[in-house]
Amino acid sequence: MIELIQLVLYGVVLGSIITLGAIGVSLVFGILRFAHFAHGDMMTLGAYFAFVGYVTIGLPFWLAFPVAAAAAAGVAVLIDQTIYKRLRRSDPVILLISAFGMALILRSLVQIIWGPSNLVYASGIQLPIRIGDLRIKEDHFYIVGGALVLVIGLHLFLTRTTMGKAMRAMADNVDLARISGVNTEKVVIWTWVIAGVMAAAAGIFLAMDTRLHPVMGWRILLSVFAAAIVGGIGRPYGAIAGGMVIGISEEVSTLFINPSYKAAVSFAILVAVLIYKPTGIVGARR
């Protein structure tokens, strides 16, 4: 029983990380209608940006984090404006392939710049805090707390600001948004800013929980996409539910199967959802 609770706690941590990635995937899909396969590598890049700020330059972590997030957002916008923008009117498959290519480019760049081996933000072992028989690392509080703050911030942005409402409107009905005077290119840029910030946060949290590696984001991409689809792709709120379902399932599954098959669990859930409720668990998109 204790072990199950312990795994659920780990699942919430993993779920928080996956959620942040899935929100970006879902937002981008809602606005641009394509599956952004480079999202995992964008997470990786964000994590390495924080490494530069925190370790290389020596900024305090509370500063390195937003700087890395801003840099990742900048890169996301830059990629969009230089590459994806030219393909807006082409077949979604073309965009998908170009995103796949972008994933390879980002991953190689990370490897060229920072090398193929593991890096860490802080060396040494962090002793877990014990609550009864449960063990929780201090970092886990930061990860879950940070994800919570970002999700609440996103919610306020989407429901309280004009740009946030325009974003939801555009995801809902592009033509009507244009008819209402929404500058869709501006919304697209904001979408990448948010997706970039969320991806960087996910990458940094993932690196805090494990370590930095050039394929860290690529390896978690399947879980991120599974979460976005399980939550109903194009619906950022669904991504939260999807992220938690995938994160907790992956961790709890290690009770029964070899942990190296974790990703297979997300894949199985993904396939099951696609078969039985293709619009996602949070309800159909009208």
């Binding site: 004009t162 939801r168 809902d172 009905n173 009507l176 948004a177 209402s180």
Partner: protein
């Protein structure tokens, strides 16, 4: 001078022309109705004003300014609002958010406009926080028109606002169109309920096969034998 003028317009959706020489004007303060058989190009003519089709030839002016190839998102700034025939509300946004989107380009203080729209459509006031997708067809149509009216436009384009509605709602919608017009807003409306629509119209156009077929005052079109046979049920 006409408020809106569509001059000899040819165009469509990239393939063959759907519109082959449409001419149409709306004067300030007028109600103008377009009728015609299914597929005549009525909706396409409305879309042309909002830059949603490819114009091959011809010109559209509003208030003397050429708006023919302006991007869709800029049209509303000139004071024209458009209620499309289908998918005319943001289903996942609340009623109130739909109205807010209607005022998206306004930078002045438009807080009072919400009350005016809710007064025009009382059922929306109590449902302001419901997603528009949860409303009935008639109420959705109210949201769609309310969204357009948030701009206080000089010209309102409405495409078949009564399609699929019960008779009671149909009369309500026509009454609202009259009320809106009384505020000084010109209305260009596509309608299948030709009789009722022409009865409130100053002028009307009959469109067939992407061309003007007839053009006359509302009462004259109502009295026309051919129009009666084609659209008014004998």
């Amino acid at each position: 001078m006409s408020l809106l003028a569509i001059e000899d317009l040819y165009g469509g959706y990239g393939g063959a022309d759907i519109l082959s020489g449409v001419r149409l004007t709306v004067d300030p303060g007028e109600i103008v109705v377009i009728i015609g058989p299914n597929g005549a190009g009525k909706s396409t003519a409305m879309k042309s004003v909002f830059g949603l089709i490819t114009v091959r030839q011809g010109r559209i002016t509003f208030d003397g300014k050429d708006i023919t190839r302006l991007p869709t998102q800029q049209i509303v700034r000139h004071g024209i609002c458009y209620v499309p025939q289908t998918n005319n509300v943001f289903t996942s946004l609340t009623v109130h958010e739909n109205l807010e989107m209607g005022a998206y380009v306004r930078r002045d203080n438009y807080a009072g406009q919400f009350d005016k729209v809710y007064d025009l459509f009382p059922p929306l006031r109590e449902r302001r926080n419901r997603p528009a997708g949860h409303l009935s067809g008639g109420q959705r149509q109210m949201v769609a028109m309310g969204r357009a009216l948030m701009m206080e436009p000089r010209l309102l384009l409405v495409d078949e606002p009564t399609a699929g509605l019960a008779p009671l709602f149909i009369d309500q919608i026509f009454q609202i169109v009259k009320d809106v017009n009384r505020l000084g807003i010109a209305v260009l409306m596509v309608e299948q309920n030709a009789k009722k629509a022409l009865a409130i119209a100053h002028r009307g156009y009959v469109l067939t096969l992407g061309r003007n077929r007839h053009e006359d005052t509302g009462p004259n079109l109502l009295a026309d034998r051919e129009v009666a046979e084609m659209f008014l049920g004998g």
